[in-house]
Symmetry: C2
Subunit: 245 residues, 2 copies
DNA sequence: CGGTCTCTGTGCGCTTCCGCACATACGATC
DNA sequence: GATCGTATGTGCGGAAGCGCACAGAGACCG
């Protein structure tokens, strides 16, 4: 995490906020509040009534489902391309999953009431949020498929790529234990898979720090799931007309 | 499937349509078109640009993802409680998954343009659609978790219950082969799991016809995933204020 | 009634992943 | 630089599920 002071923070670092029209930005930005997101913090718990939505700028937040048995699985992951708390505007106000900071950093947050106010005005923001939500749906669906059919090796590649896309550098601060919680597998399974990648020179691993050395190779080794999610996100969220009606 | 003629069809059999205010129904219903959905038909293919949304009344439609290898997995399932084609109003117009009729019957369909027209009027329908979409998201998330952590036995129970809730009687017309495609497992795995349930007197199985004999027991044998999805659907879709802003 | 097709049941070797038990290695801290 | 906590590597036995091969059994049809 880059120290807050040194960071030239601005809301436009979040790609959703960046893609808004000047008019909407002018109305929204004064109400944004910059908050630090330390590693492991729960942005919200399962069943919580949400008050804010969060726009990460240099952090990653995982939507994680933890079962009665304690076993867990990551449902989707959100970084600078997205927003945490879609259930707030989808109408549910809460979800059965938990949002955990997976990579420390910052986010801008906005009161739910402000967001809804803006929805009522014109719709541009609403339709952007909905397209993002559809991209999120794709990610969840693909996670389900991947959990069913792909090996830990493949899933690790997918996961590394998804995380990478949501940050800036080629480094991840992340223990194998944490990764195993996200993938819903044993820690030893991650050790083994990561060991293979390291031997192949694709990543270098060192006590909770992953550096990606050969990204193209990583993409080859990943299952198709990464590409599907990436393609669909790009399709839905880059340079489209503001209104989709 | 009940023959069309014998069926006293009306749009209110679909629970989403039923829960609309009289005012909105008056505007929407004249534009609904009743269509038969034969078993196995693709309501839409991966990547198709959608023109209609579908409100099933006595049919079940599965959202299925088919991979390059031919392996498949069901992402979610839609019946009389829901709508097929959410990506149309979410702004994406298409999705990477396929919608397949899993249980033959009928649905009312509506032109996407009509739907959007109604969205612009007032918002009641939009907010209902969004809440439903959130319930669908919960189902997808839970599918991902279930695929990771639960046995075929448990998943079969979950799947039977979900399907049951979306129909009227205690019978399902469904071969083990088809179920295996939905769950993304081997057909033999389904044979074994179904055999256990039959021995326990929970279901009776007969060449593509499942009759559920002991539903409470089925719920006990299922993993928690069914209950989570059910609870969340009920929370989001029963007797709530029309406007959630 | 006999043939054929589809659906269901069963067995077997194999792979992947899990659970557990340790061994090692890094790094922060005093 | 000794110590201790945390992160990582390894090696079992066992369970679940897969791929394959094939056997029975109901349904449909001429």
């Amino acid at each position: 995490m880059i120290p807050a002071a040194a960071l030239n923070q601005c809301p436009e670092q979040n790609l959703l906020l960046e893609s808004l029209s000047a008019e909407v930005r002018e109305r929204i930005f004064p109400h944004l509040e910059l908050v630090p997101l330390p590693l492991g913090q729960a942005v919200y718990e399962s069943g919580d009534t949400l008050r804010h939505v969060y726009f990460p700028i240099d952090s990653i937040v995982s939507l994680l489902y933890v079962m009665e048995s304690g076993e867990s699985a990551e449902i989707s992951v959100v970084g600078k391309e997205g927003i945490v708390g879609v259930s707030l505007f989808m109408g549910g106000d809460s979800t059965p999953s938990r949002a955990i900071v997976q990579s420390a950093g910052h986010a801008y947050r906005l009161l739910g009431s402000r967001l809804k106010e803006e929805f009522n005005r014109h719709g541009e923001l609403l339709y952007l949020m909905l397209r993002y939500t559809q991209a999120l749906i794709t990610q969840m669906a693909q996670t389900a498929v991947c959990n069913r059919h792909h090996s830990i090796d493949q899933q690790l590649c997918r996961w590394l790529l998804l995380s990478l896309d949501r940050l800036n550098g080629p480094d991840l601060v992340m223990t194998q234990e944490l990764i195993s919680n996200m993938l819903g597998v044993r820690r030893e399974g991650v050790t083994e898979a990561a060991g293979k990648l390291q031997k192949a020179g694709v990543i270098s691993y060192k006590r909770g720090r992953v550096k990606v050395l050969d990204r193209p190779r990583l993409e080859e080794l990943s299952c198709e799931c990464y590409a599907v999610v990436k393609r669909e996100s790009d399709r839905l969220l880059t340079s489209r007309p503001q209104k989709t009606r």
